[in-house]
């Protein structure tokens, strides 16, 4: 098992979708994105990163975005628990 920081969108129906590396961290490197999330959550709780993610949203009215920590089973990929670090205010 391992815990990963990442970001998800929450739709009106409550369904969630994962954000891409590019959207979260303006990169194609998962190491860079992982490092950025960790650093930013530690620095200001993700406030600055939230505003950057919203700025990069493809639509003018972005969906609800959350910075989360997902605890995942490494063997099966199953999501075990999710902790919400911050909900990004549009």
């Amino acid at each position: 098992m391992a815990t990963f920081n990442t970001a998800v969108t929450i739709g009106p129906d409550g369904n969630w979708h994962r954000l891409s590396l590019d959207w979260i961290a303006n990169t194609d490197d998962p190491l860079v994105a992982q490092s950025l999330l960790s650093t930013e959550l530690h620095r200001d709780g993700g406030e600055t990163l939230c505003s950057e993610i919203i700025d990069r949203a493809p639509s003018a009215s972005p969906p609800t975005i959350q910075l989360v920590a997902d605890r995942v089973d490494l063997q099966t990929g199953q999501l075990l628990t999710r902790t919400v670090h911050r909900e990004c205010d549009p």
């Binding site: 994962r18 891409s20 590396l21 490197d29 950025l36 650093t39 995942v72 490494l74």
Partner: protein, 289 residues
């Protein structure tokens, strides 16, 4: 013994290495331009200088970075063809070091760029443009230590990075590496990290995780290749080629199972000086004769 440490070498081999490092760096910078340039306007609070960057109190202005980036591409192209090398070569080495240091000062040290930077310094500060240049493809310069030394130095740097990698595996994972457990965890971790970022998982991750015996063999082989790397520079041509082929195969395996692509290593440029360096036993025999 002196022949092993500072072997003679050909201007042609050093020229090949110079052209390869110059071409790779130029193409790499052009391909990765968006990734580099987007950092120039990054939040200054994220700047955490490393290495020589520690002399800075804050990130350099974006205009200066754009200038450095463009200049490094031009210098790289010039180094590739071997133009005005006495001036261009050192500037190229220092520019690559500065640019890669700056990029690694944004919170994530990109280890795979470090070897390129050190190799760029080696070719930049050595007489590597006495052959394989736009003016002359061959060279009449006789074999000399001034050509052999840089190639041997670059080879030693390469094998040292692998040795450090092997020691790090043992320090972090202990003997778990030899059982394949730690490698399995790394592959699983990399696959799930990609999944949480909405990316596709590596094509061969599941395949290898289902075959633990294969993982154990791969883990032991990789550890042996890395820890034994320094010995390679003292061996003959056949062993060097075999080791180099195995290392490239290992990088292909890492790319397929973890989606971690070290391009410089994957296409064989990291191990190129190991292949180009003169067989030390032949040099020692010649000296004895």
């Amino acid at each position: 013994m002196i022949g092993v440490l500072v072997p003679e070498g050909s201007a042609r081999h050093l020229g090949i290495f110079r052209a390869a490092v110059g071409l790779y760096t130029t193409v790499y910078l052009i391909v990765r331009a968006p990734s580099f340039l987007s950092l120039a306007t990054n939040d200054a609070q994220r700047f955490d200088p490393v290495g020589i960057g520690r002399i800075l109190t804050g990130p350099p202005p974006a205009a200066l970075i754009h200038l450095l980036f463009g200049a490094t591409i031009v210098l790289g192209a010039a180094v590739t063809v071997g133009a005005a090398h006495r001036i261009i070569g050192p500037l190229f080495g220092l520019a690559v070091l500065a640019l890669f240091t700056w990029r690694s000062s944004w919170g994530q040290i990109l280890w795979f760029e470090n070897l390129v930077a050190v190799h760029a310094l080696v070719v930049g500060f050595s007489p590597s443009a006495d052959a394989i240049t736009w003016l002359r493809r061959s060279s009449t310069a006789p074999d000399h230590q001034r050509y052999g030394h840089p190639v041997q130095l670059a080879a030693l740097i390469t094998v040292t990075t692998y040795l450090v990698s092997g020691i790090a595996k043992l320090r972090i994972g202990g003997l778990g590496w030899a059982t394949g457990d730690t490698l399995a965890n790394h592959i699983g971790f990399s696959a799930q990290r990609l999944a949480v970022f909405g990316e596709r998982q590596p094509v061969a991750a599941d395949l290898l995780l289902d075959h633990t015996a294969l993982l154990t063999v791969a883990a032991i082989a990789l550890l042996g290749l890395e820890l034994g790397a320094p010995i390679i520079v003292l061996t003959g041509r056949r062993i060097r080629w075999s080791w180099s082929a195995a290392m490239v195969a290992a990088h292909i395996g890492i790319a397929l199972t973890m989606s971690v692509v070290f391009a410089y290593h994957l296409i064989g440029l990291a191990i190129l000086p190991v292949l180009l360096a003169r067989d030390p036993r032949a040099t020692a025999t010649a000296e004895a004769g």
